[in-house]
Amino acid sequence: MELDEVIKYELRLYVAGKTAKSVTALTNLKKYCEEHLKGQYVIEVIDLLQQPQLAEGDQIFAIPTLVRKVPEPIRKIIGDLSNEEKVLVGLNIIPVSK
């Protein structure tokens, strides 16, 4: 019960193989989450090269795409997530500090 309450963010990162953009995106995402959502998130990385059938479900067309499944509504951020402010606004994350 306690765990459910803690995890507020379910994030999915769609990548296609280990491309530079994917790696950058994942590194960036982890960094932001650790900074702002420590302990409240799960990240699921889906490699479309291995599971192409999953692309349709989340309406993926660009790579990399970050999908915020929870909380609703679903939000999508495409790109290598290099702009921290945009990512945080996009995910509707209220910065913990600052």
């Binding site: 192409p52 067309f61 660009a62 790579i63 790109g79 290598d80 997530l81 290099s82 945009k86 996009g90």
Partner: protein, 582 residues
């Protein structure tokens, strides 16, 4: 030597491999279909039928050519698409279940998407690749790819990715259709997609002229192949899209020298006694009330009597009206309808545009397979199109009918009483045979005259014939050429009567003369008899004298003989004396 070489080269020259679309008429224009394994761009304004055309390409591929297809929709959802085309008889759900089709809706909503940094469209490629591989697709449609531009803001990435997409499609070896909205000005698409798709570009257009809309299609470019470059009208109806080539690209029609009767024996005799050529086109033109419909109905009746099928398109009267009216001239068309040999299709020309009419005619002909078709009258079509449009429609119709070896009869109303050489819808140059029915007005009455303006490839009478419609049917009467010109109607009857009187008088005179001759002969003969008798008596007289003379002569002779004998008697005695002396 070089000539021979060239010829061989021509023969061995390979045509670009093509994928048939299965869309009526489009394959004809493109010479077999879209370029195989390459992308084709279909562009046009909103609502001109891009989506439908591309979807039909996929559905026909799946159902007719056993080529599964992927339809990637950027605009409409899969279930929306399915319900939109259900009215055309395309069951997308079933095709999907049969793994012949895959619908994939790509939802792009700017409000849901945030862009940060570098990205690519690999996700789209993977989706497309997966969809293609899952059903072994040969055909792909991306409808409308430009939605990407409204959803994503990084144009540089998009353009680079588009280029990659087309390479990807070519590598996959699928025949693809990409649709694009028409841009402002002269550009074909809003985002300049034509830059990427260089193989084949088809432009669709939707125009409304005089409140009647016409869709048109043009092949803007088609690399490496010959194609029709005109604008071709096309239609969307319950059977999908039909493109109508304005004229077939070649004039290589089979011709027949078989003849078919017009149903009016005296008219046939004007065509050397045999009637029209089978598969030819006949125009019957004339002013109002000259019997054009009657001639047409007569022809229909004749065709049906010969156990052939006939189609009658009426643009003026309802079938029942025609049936009733024709009954009055002893033509029972109802029995042919009952036998299934005759079919009427009546519609007001204003019901829909010319193209729709043409397609409706095409379809009915394709289904019914008649030997003859009648359009009565074509003049009314003018109300829905300009003269040149009607002409182009009729050219196409005649082309089509001649290809199918169907005889066609048009009737046309000419408005002026003076026969103009250039009629009506300008079809007179297209038709093979042109009959002209005209009014001949004289002596306070109006009569019908018919003549053959032209008839290709057969000898035909140059005479103006009077044409009568009676309760026995139609027939042509010899026009009386009197001293005052052509006599028709009651003037002709009067002339006939006059001639009859003349004959009677002449006959009477002849009989009187005959009697006179007889009497003269009798007189002469009696004279001859009396003369003969006179001659005989004279002859007898003469003979008598002659006989008497002869008798006299004889007697004299005898007497002389006797005298001599007597003298000789002496001599006899002398002789016997001398004998005894010896």
């Amino acid at each position: 030597m070089t000539k021979l070489h060239k010829k061989q080269q021509l023969i061995t020259f390979e045509q670009l491999p093509k994928t048939p679309t299965g869309i009526t008429g489009l394959d004809e224009i493109t010479g077999g279909g879209l370029p195989n394994g390459r992308p084709t761009l279909i562009c046009g304004e909103a609502g001109c039928g891009k989506t439908l055309m591309s979807l039909e390409f996929i559905v026909r591929g799946a159902t007719e050519f056993n080529e599964p297809g992927v339809f990637m929709a950027f605009e409409e959802k899969a279930d929306e698409l399915a319900s939109n085309v259900a009215s055309l008889g395309f069951d997308l759900i079933k095709l999907q279940d049969d793994k012949k089709l895959r619908l994939d809706h790509v939802h792009i909503d700017r409000s849901e998407i945030e862009e940060t940094g570098e990205y690519d469209l690999e996700g789209l490629f993977i989706r497309l690749g997966f969809a293609i591989d899952s059903i072994g697709a040969k055909r792909v449609v991306l409808d409308t790819l430009e939605n990407l531009f409204s959803g994503l803001s990084n144009q540089i990435i998009l353009r680079a990715e588009l280029r990659r997409l087309f390479t990807f499609l070519k590598e996959k070896g699928v025949t693809a259709i990409i649709t694009g909205e028409k841009g402002d000005g002269s550009s074909l698409t809003r985002q300049g997609l034509e830059e990427y798709v260089s193989d084949c570009v088809i432009l669709l257009d939707h125009r409304v002229v005089n409140q009647i809309s016409t869709r048109r299609l043009r092949v803007v470019k088609y690399r490496g192949t010959q194609h029709g470059t005109n604008e071709y009208p096309f239609l969307i109806d319950e059977d999908g899209i039909s493109v109508l080539p304005v004229t077939s690209l070649v004039l290589e029609k089979e011709v027949s020298s078989k003849r078919i009767s017009s149903g009016i024996p005296s008219l046939d005799s004007m065509f050397g006694g045999k009637g029209f050529f089978q598969g030819s086109s006949i125009l019957v033109s004339g002013t109002a009330g000259t019997g054009k419909t009657s001639i047409a109905a007569c022809f229909a009746n004749e065709v049906c009597n010969n156990k052939k099928k006939c189609l009658y398109f009426a643009f003026e009267e309802s079938p029942k009206q025609i049936l009733r009216n024709m009954k009055s001239i002893n033509l029972d068309l109802q029995k042919h309808i009952d036998n299934g040999l005759l079919e009427f299709h009546a519609s007001r020309p204003t019901l829909y545009g010319l193209e729709m009419h043409l397609v409706a005619i095409y379809k009915i002909i394709k289904r019914f397979k008649p030997a003859a078709v009648i359009l009565d009258p074509i003049t009314n079509l003018i109300t829905v199109g300009s003269v040149s449009e009607v002409k182009s429609m009729l050219i196409r119709l005649i082309d089509f009918l001649q290809d199918e070896q169907i005889t066609v009869m048009f009737t046309a109303l000419s408005l002026n009483t003076v026969v103009s050489e250039q009629t009506d819808e300008g079809v007179s140059s297209l038709v093979d045979t042109w009959l002209l029915v005209r009014d001949i007005e004289s002596n306070g009455e109006r009569n019908r005259g018919l003549y053959i303006m032209k008839s290709r490839g057969m000898s035909h009478s140059n005479q103006v014939r009077e044409f009568t419609i009676t309760d026995k049917g139609l027939s042509l009467v010899d026009v009386y050429l009197g001293p005052d010109g052509v006599l028709t109607g009651s003037a002709r009857e009067a002339q006939k009567l006059r001639e009859k009187t003349g004959v009677a008088l002449r006959e009477f005179a002849i009989s009187r003369k005959d009697k006179e001759i007889l009497r003269r002969r009798m007189m002469l003969e009696s004279k001859i008899a009396s003369l003969q008798a006179e001659f005989e008596s004279t002859e007898e007289e003469l003979n008598k004298i002659y006989l008497e003379e002869e008798l006299k002569q004889n007697i004299i002779e005898r007497n002389r003989q006797e005298i001599t004998d007597i003298r000789r008697g002496n001599a006899d005695t002398l002789k016997s004396k001398s004998k005894s002396k010896k």
